[in-house]
Symmetry: C2
Subunit: 329 residues, 2 copies
DNA sequence: AAAATTAATGCAAACGATTGCACAGGAGGG
DNA sequence: CCCTCCTGTGCAATCGTTTGCATTAATTTT
């Protein structure tokens, strides 16, 4: 029983088209009629039915945002950027989660496709991209954030992972550290790979041999940080410097260290990525590369918006942000 | 150019209605036709256009979730529960943020109304409820989570705040502590109020006089926890025990303490609410009441779903969860 | 004053799906 | 052999908007 254009038309004695035109700001309607209609609309509490409008206009002013995990502060900072930016142009955002698996991701994409979103921003959960390509291909613009996929070239917004992790590792080396352990994220994921490259590059440029037992990959989540740090500390000759690929693994590592290596605060050093609210509580972390999370979202949203508006320039566009630096003292 | 029922109809030589019936599982269609149609639909990559369907059926299978801040782990855990639960019934969730202000909240609600959501789950940013009532009133079910509003009675899912905070404060008192400082959340918000009541009640039952200078209200965010803890510690006769109303204020407080009161780890004690990934890194926090965040979301979603299906029983229903207990050692 | 232009509004189709009703043809009952 | 009853399918209206085109009245031009 929401009030429709028809109701207003009936009440004011003009046609539905006239009401529609008034409410969409068509100047061709007499001031007289405009007033009458507007007043009636207001009084009756009219609200446009965007479902009907979308059907006619073939535009839903809705975009989809798919990420691996909705409770993840990092992803949600990106989502915030997206939401803020797109809200200004009248878009809303449907947030879906892939729960870190490709089937759920595909399911989410299917639903969003059926909801006829105008565009998609995806933080893919793996390197697989075929399902994205199949579902959206050319019909609907897709922007990737934070990660790329194989088999599907499209716009993306990333950070300079390799350079940042090179800098972190190189920094440690310059301070005379030679045995730097690497705690990686999910190896399938762009950012994890690139951060690993940066690590390798730093070793190489400083002529340090790679020690395979100092390299371990987790999944970017807490538990893997905890477990890998534990393993490292239980080695016969444990490393004292650590590169940790993201915040959540850092939390895990710090938790392990605070539980079992409390007294070694001055011996052990962590460098890594990101800076969150609780980061200053870390005892072992010295320096981190901070990704501009909200800005990544904002940029992805801007890019998507351009594509939705039909701009085809320089496709596919890969945009890379530099990180900021945080020193924990 | 997505393929429509019409396209399939044309291709298979049957009418649009028949195609529709086949795809919606109507058994009255001959097996013959069913096969033909299904095969064509699959081959052509048909996906229902839910915009059109929604218009006809007056059901969007979309619900709105409005919360004060999307990057807030607490709210997003609730959102996760909502999303998980509703996904099972084929709903998607549009997540909006009010940025902790009523105008934005109202704006989000208006948009969701125009998008014709089937229902709303709201974590209101204040005690104001008129705008919700006006926009949705009876037309669309609304469930509140975590907080209530004035002027609008509707279903809600909360926790037993008062009992939990009573227990925390009472616990400290039973250990002989008498000067317990209170770091509250935003006073306008249900949970902040109720936690304060619990504090007062514990003092009262133990015949401890309230000291107004030990009571301060913040806004549930980090900075307020930091600032208030600082103020307390800079008193001439600083308290040694603290009740902190939520996780984020705890982070702030812990940050202050780690910066400026590092050596007092054994003297100072914090109790409070919530337990997040980084909570085990807290040095001063002893015991917390843990809200079942995901379960709150799940329950809110279930309740909303019932209302959408037309169940009017026991309206308005206020459901309260008990907290769990976490001891940090 | 007739013709041409402009201004204000209405008609009706369209978007893509769902669904009540009608209808054709075949089966079964009397 | 006619009447009734299924079975399978199609017709057409409908959901609430938007919008090209037609229409009418008023105004301007010549």
């Amino acid at each position: 029983m929401p009030v429709t254009l028809k109701d207003i038309a009936k009440k004011t004695g003009v046609s539905v088209s006239t009401v529609s035109r008034v409410l969409s700001g068509d100047k061709a309607i007499s001031v007289q009629t405009q007033q009458t209609v507007r007043k009636a609309a207001k009084k009756m509490g009219y609200r446009v039915n965007t479902v009907a409008r979308s059907l006619k206009m073939n535009r839903t002013y809705t975009v989809g945002f798919v990420c691996p995990e909705i409770t993840n502060e990092f992803f949600m900072k990106i989502a915030k950027g997206v939401e803020q930016e797109l809200k200004q142009s009248g878009y809303s955002v449907i947030i879906c989660t892939s729960n870190e698996n490709v089937e759920d991701e595909a399911r989410s994409l299917r639903i969003l496709r059926e909801k006829c979103v105008d565009g998609m921003i995806i933080i893919p959960c793996s390197n697989e991209g075929m399902h994205i390509k199949e579902l959206f291909g050319d019909s609907c613009p897709v922007v990737l954030a934070d990660r790329l996929v194989d088999d599907f070239k499209t716009d993306a917004v990333l950070v300079n992972n390799e350079a940042a992790s090179f800098d972190l590792v190189d920094g440690l080396i310059k301070k005379g550290k030679k045995r730097i352990a690497f705690l990686g994220g999910n190896e399938l994921i762009t950012s994890a790979k690139e951060r690993f490259s940066g690590y390798l590059k730093a070793l190489k440029e400083n002529n340090i041999a790679v020690e395979p037992e100092l390299i371990r990959f987790g999944d970017f989540y807490l538990q893997s940080g905890y477990d890998i740090m534990k393993d490292f500390c239980e080695m016969k000759n444990p490393p004292k410097e650590f590169f940790i690929s993201n915040y959540f693994m850092q939390v895990g590592a710090e938790r392990y260290l605070q539980e079992y290596q409390k007294n070694k605060e001055d011996e052990l050093t962590i460098v890594g990525f990101d800076n969150m609210d609780a980061s200053p509580l870390f005892r072992f972390t010295e320096r981190t590369a901070v990704q501009p999370m909200v800005a990544i979202g904002t940029e992805a949203a801007r890019l998507l918006h351009r594509r939705i508006e039909g701009d085809k320039e320089a496709f596919p566009l890969i945009s890379r942000f530099d990180v900021d630096w945080n020193v924990n003292d």
